[in-house]
């Protein structure tokens, strides 16, 4: 029993490492791409790693209190945990992680874990920007949750399961079986929600580097910040993996995973480059209009298509 647990933990550590590194690299890749588009050179690929290391080895740190101290811990635990409950590579026992502890529903709710913890930590810093950022982030979250939830319900109806593994399994056997093609309405709704979820422009006001320097993490620095930076890469990649599993047929190997997730990510990047930032109330209204409508249609659609 114990050995089995350790074995799994070991396997998961490997996944964790790969996904984190991949996340950081993707981040650098996107930065570089945007820079190229804008006629700059951009950062080297090692830059994210250097950033993390640099903050990690800072010799001074201040603390505003115990919750402040625990905030980054919650945050990265949320990231790691979310990944832990998602099977990463289809058909691979090694990279199934702890997905048999819970289903899709667990993953969706566990995504809040880090956000909540982080919000508490940032709250204790006593910095108004943190609070403002959190208020905005939470508000926006309630809005993109709606199309996302509708899309999820749609595919749960479609596949008649909440198990991510089974959802992926159902999409095997060719691209035409991907949710993207079998239930493109739901995928569209989900991808619109994804824009909000990634926090890229036009939905990046909760971080808003201009008015409220980087939002909730304002007061965090040194080792705290390194944890947050790591998580940013890790959590971003985790969400990509989740979307890949749900809508894009999953992946049977790491290469497929990387190609697919990068492609998904590009959607957000392209939209982000093309559109200016929404105010919070605007983005809320946005999500409640077209995306929600599409989500509703997706359920009607799936009921017509997949239930007798």
């Amino acid at each position: 029993m114990i050995a089995e647990w350790f074995g799994r933990a070991g396997n998961f550590s490997l996944t964790l490492l790969i996904v984190t590194v991949y996340g950081l690299l993707v981040g650098a890749f996107i930065e570089r791409t945007i820079a190229k588009v804008q006629g700059r050179i951009g950062i080297p690929y090692r830059q994210p790693f250097i950033n993390i290391l640099k903050t990690l080895v800072k010799r001074t740190a201040v603390s505003h209190g115990i919750m402040f101290y625990l905030g980054p811990v919650f945050r990265i635990a949320g990231g790691i945990g979310t990944l832990a409950f998602i099977p990463v590579i289809y058909g691979s026992e090694t990279f199934a992680n702890f997905s048999y502890a819970g289903d899709l529903f667990l993953v969706i709710y566990f995504m809040f874990f880090g956000q909540l913890g982080m919000a508490l930590g940032a709250g204790e810093s006593g910095h108004p920007y943190s609070a403002i950022g959190i208020a905005r982030g939470l508000s926006q979250m309630t809005a993109y949750e709606v199309p996302f939830a509708l899309a999820v319900i749609s595919i749960v109806i479609q596949y008649d399961t909440l198990s991510i593994t089974e959802i992926v399994a159902a999409q095997q056997g060719g691209w035409q079986h991907w949710t993207l093609f079998t239930n493109w309405v739901a995928t569209l709704a989900a991808m619109l929600a994804f824009l909000g979820m990634t926090g890229y422009s036009p939905f990046d006001i909760f971080l808003a580097p201009q008015e409220i320097p980087i939002g909730p993490p304002t007061e965090f620095h040194s080792a705290y910040l390194s944890l947050l930076q790591t998580n940013r890469a890790l959590f971003g990649a985790t969400k990509l993996v989740l979307f890949m599993n749900l809508f894009f047929g999953g992946a049977t190997g790491w290469i497929e995973l990387m190609i697919k997730t990068l492609a998904i990510y590009m959607v957000a990047v392209v939209v982000g480059v093309a559109f200016p930032r929404f105010r919070v109330d605007q983005s809320i209204r946005f999500f409640f209009k077209i995306p929600t409508l599409i989500g509703i249609i997706s359920i009607i659609y799936v009921q017509m298509m997949f239930t007798s």
């Binding site: 647990w5 800072k58 740190a61 201040v62 603390s63 505003h64 919750m67 101290y69 625990l70 980054p72 919650f74 635990a77 790691i80 945990g81 409950f85 702890f98 048999y100 502890a101 819970g102 289903d103 529903f105 667990l106 709710y109 566990f110 809040f112 874990f113 909540l116 919000a119 508490l120 709250g123 006593g126 910095h127 108004p128 609070a131 905005r136 939470l138 508000s139 979250m141 309630t142 949750e145 709606v146 939830a149 749960v156 109806i157 008649d160 399961t161 909440l162 198990s163 320097p213 304002t218 040194s222 080792a223 944890l227 105010r279 919070v280 109330d281 809320i284 209204r285 359920i299 009921q303």
Partner: protein
Amino acid sequence: MVEGFITQVLLQPLGIYVVALGAGFLVPLFDRAHRSSAILLFFLALAGMVAIAGINLLAILNGAAPIQIETAGIAPPFAINLRFGLYEGGFVLAVNSIALLGALHWLPSLRQHASALLLYLIMVMGINGMVMTRDLFNLFIFIEITSIATYALIGMERTGSVLAAGFKYIIATSVASAFFLLGTIFLYYLTGTLNIDGMVAQRELISGPIGFIATLFLLTSLLIELKPYPANGWGLDVYETAPGGIAALISVGVSAGVFFALLKTLPLLDNYLSSIAVVGGATFLLSNLIGLKQDNARRLLGYSSIGQMGLLTLALAATVQLGIEAQLPLVAGGLFINHLLAKAGLFWLADLVNRNSTRDWSVLAGRPGRLLLFGILLSALVGLPPFPGFWAKWVLVTELAAGGLYPWITVVLLGSLLEAAYLFRWFTQALQTRESDTPDTIRLESLLPVALAALLLFATGYGMAVQLESDTLIMFLPLLAGTALWLLDGLPGLLKSLLMLVVVAAGGAWLTLDLEGLNRIFGFILVGGGVLLSLATQYRSDVRKGFYPLLGILLLSLATLLRAHTSLEFFFSWELMTLSSYLLVTLGRGGAKPALTYLLFSLAAAYFILAGFALAYAASGSLELAALGDTGSSMGLVFSLLAAGFVIKTGGLGVHIWVPGTYGEADDDFTAVLSAVVSKAAIFGLLLVAAQLGIRSDIGLDPAYVLGWIGMLTATFGALMAVFQEDIKKLLAYSSMGQLGYIVTGIALMSHLGWVAALYLTVNHFLFKGILFLAVAGVVLRTSERLMYKMGGLIKNMPFTFVATMIAIIAMSGVPPLTGFGGKWLLFNAMMEKGWYWLAALAFFSSAVAFLYMYRLLHTVFLGQRKLEHAQLREAPAILLVPQFLLIGIIMVFSAYPKLLLEPLSSAISPWLAGNLVWDGLSLHTHLGYWNAPMIMGVVAGVWMIPLLFLLLMSLTLKIQKVGQFNIVFAAERPHRPEDTHFAYNFFAHYDRALGFLVKPRATAFWNSIVEWSHTLAASLRIFYNGNGQTYALFIVMYLVVLFLVNGGLQL
């Protein structure tokens, strides 16, 4: 001869006349000797009248035949005869007793004039005569005796207004008497007799135009004397202006006599039963509606009196129409005795308080004894348990339902609600201390008659309970315990708290431990949970007059609620719970006003429930709760009515407006009980009807589906409304409303999994909301604030409270690994299984919205910048923290091993809805998904520990500096006041901009407009009461004409 006198005269009902008249004639003589001897004679006579009535009634109750009294030694119909049977005895005893008490009350005025003494005595005798005589003309004489004595006593005060009112009264009753006489003589013309029984025996002779018109005159006269709307302004004016002593006697005594006259002549008036019912019903409904506009205390009592007589009339007509005269003693007798005692008590109290405007009754504020009396009388009048009116209304409504007279049920319940509205508004005004009030000067002994009336209400209420129920003792147990605790109310607060806990724990255990299934589970939540949370009452050591007895009653009534087998038992405990919780809310700082809203919505809920039960009884013929399902075709309606009642009580959307005020203003520790425990009673009720009715296939899914939507919309809007709250308790109030919405939806699913979800959510809500309200109690205790933005940074001072709050919030939010996730998961699975996709999507949204207020609560209060004045605050008292951490312990256990909880829940549901939870080891499987709670707990602990250890490790090498409050990155400036940087007020302003339109207070506006509309309607309905005696007289003649026309007079 003396012996003959005693046995043949004094002890016989006839003795009442002899004593009253003999004494009455002698009073002037005695008065010549000495005033006090006249007073002594007066009281001896009254006491004698009570005793004679009592002795004879007792004999009849013991099985003696009704006593027929002949006069002149000649048999009826040739001489006048009287009867003293069960009904007569009851009425006479009641009237004489109340007259005796009334005399005690009014003695200071009565003793001024010997003639007042004799008038009072003879007036009472006249009422006795009206009750006992069997001769129509003799009845007229007694009516006149009573009337003339009444006129004179009204005029005793001789102020301009009372004289004017008295004159209108005389004109009105004289015209009515004239009608009576006309009717009587023409009945004699037709039947050749004046004996009522003789007339009834020759009922067929009373026909044709003369028969019609004669009975019409008789009927009009009696109805007018009962003061029907709108021909009753003359009565109201007298109630308003006359001294309480006589007003009480008119309201309860004279009306009783006239009512009895109607009762005995009813066989002659059987063609008019519908008219009588309409007159009674309309009077009841409309006087109570118009009462809403009234703020003169005495006139208000007048409206209530008239309304009550209307109800009695309606009850009488309906009972006879339905042919269930056997129920008459319970219905009419119960309503009558209730009105008699309560109304007389209130008139006397009004006399003592001596304030015209109901607003000025605030002189009673802060006087628990007086308020208790006042409250008892009002509660009785409204028909709350355990008073006779409660039982009578129950029987009335169930019988009306059984007879299919549904419109009357609506009238009775609506009228009762309106009456409750103005009566308890008055109580609310009495509760509110005002600066300008001078203390009242009521001497304690002058309250004695009022107190006796209150006691008699309890006694008669118990008497009726014994008639109706077998398990009376258990039903009354909460009240007994409450009384015992109340007797000890002088003890120190902490001791009382302890005593209450012991009593409730012992009583509750005895009542609930042998229960099974669902009831057992709710036993743990309601009684166990109630006791656990009530431990926290120890954090206040002040006296808290009335608090502990009421809390004891509340918690024990929850226990008896669970034990109920019949709908009557259930409803009794339910109303007891309503009443006690209402009173507890009024004890809060600003609790009086919100408590009124709470009471009215609770009563509305109760009336829905009553109507539902009544309908069920009508359909199944049984009061057993288990027979609710045998209701055949009316099943859907029964279910809807009952569910509506329970949903109101959970604070469903649209009828939720009582929630924030009630939870906000109740005492902080009591709010925890209210939200975590008491609200679950409604869930229990809902589950009960769902189990008996909701799961039946013949109901169809529609009501359940509607219920599901109501629940989920409540959840959504509750969350949205909580987001915009600044008041911490109101935030939690809206949160409670929303969380209960999920539970309602879970029940509405009518599936095994849905109910497991509902029960799981119920347990969970109890756990986290108990913690939250107790934590808030601690915060409010320390900061004396309820507005969150006035707090901040309290984590430094109250770390334990913060931890408790945080854990509770996580448990509420649904974030794994704590219990909340299980609830959400179960509910989602159940909804998907049922195909309720839209509701599932809404659930996602509302639980996301819930994050907003949850975070806000934690941040605004505990995080951010601490206020300077809060720097020295201490942690909440240990006794507040103990229950919180006990509850946290339970949350942790259930989080890691939900099977411990789910298995009993599942097996409790199995008898109703088959289905099993599929377990694979510790993993729970549904059709769609799976949930391995222990493993999730392990993984989360693991992934949380690893970065923590890492950070700790790093900290070893780092020099972590604790910094001061204002040491933040703030554009190189340093804020000096926390207010500068504590981002708290209107935290979700942007959300308001985006979605605020959804939560504009529409429900409040709607209910306000209902209130306004009723007031406008009331104002337009009372234009008839223009104060002009001639208008009043005109209405009386019109009444006759209208009755003539509607009963087909033109077809003669």
